[in-house]
């Protein structure tokens, strides 16, 4: 092929890179999150103090990033499963990536709105 390979540097590769990065990032967060939740077994006040940090503007923004990462990984994961098990999956893998990105965007816009609403209102003094 004149343009090089069918995989390297094209959507197929980048969707895989993103799947890998989001998988690792979500996993690392999960390890921390199980441990912070375990504080409910230690001391209710300590738990509330730690959870309060989740409500600060910067961590709130990171939560939007976490949801964005999980949502991409989940939608692209379904795409991978369809490529593997659906007879027409390999033929539509490229179209399905666009569908994944469209669904991701449509869900992220209202999601980010509701996640950030309180933080923004507080910053604006509403």
């Amino acid at each position: 092929m004149a343009s090089g390979t069918l995989y390297r540097g094209r959507e197929g590769m980048w969707s895989w890179v993103a799947h890998r990065i989001t998988g690792v990032a979500v996993y690392l967060f999960l390890l921390v999150h199980v441990l912070d939740t375990a504080l409910v077994r230690v001391d209710p006040n300590l738990y509330d103090t730690v959870i309060a940090s989740y409500k600060t503007p910067i961590v709130n923004l990171l939560e939007v990033g976490l949801v964005a990462a999980v949502l991409y990984h989940a939608l692209n994961g379904i795409r991978i499963i369809l490529v593997d098990f659906w007879s027409k999956g390999p033929r539509y893998q490229r179209a399905m990536l666009w569908v994944v990105m469209a669904i991701w965007l449509v869900l992220m816009v209202p999601g980010a709105f509701f996640m950030l609403r309180h933080t923004v209102e507080k910053m604006l003094g509403a």
Partner: protein
Amino acid sequence: MSLETFSAPRSGAKSRTNFEMLSWLFMRISGVVLVFLVLGHLLIMNILDGGVQRINFGFVAGRWASPFWQIWDLLQLWLAIIHGTNGLRTIIADYAPQKPGRQVRFWLQTVLMISAVFVLFAGTLVIFTFDPTIG
């Protein structure tokens, strides 16, 4: 070189292949279940009804009063940790060099497995022994 000099396939090879096949299948089955558990969890905890702002000890106590959420969280914990740990096992095998004398890969895999078992144990213990009256 005559054909007789080739060694027979080692017995370990077959079971290894079978394990990787099961692991491949597990990633897909757990993935389908995690779509509902994890996206449901994020929707409830971060988006609906005030999101993270309303979470505190009392909120957790209210949820875990119900066996439904206890089982949800337990299943989610086990599937996500095993799925994620198995994914990381693959990634370490892809990137960590396996050079003679340097056992980077072995130690990374060991740290990964110890962390996973520890977190799985801690999380399970907390769900089973949660006490809303402490403190």
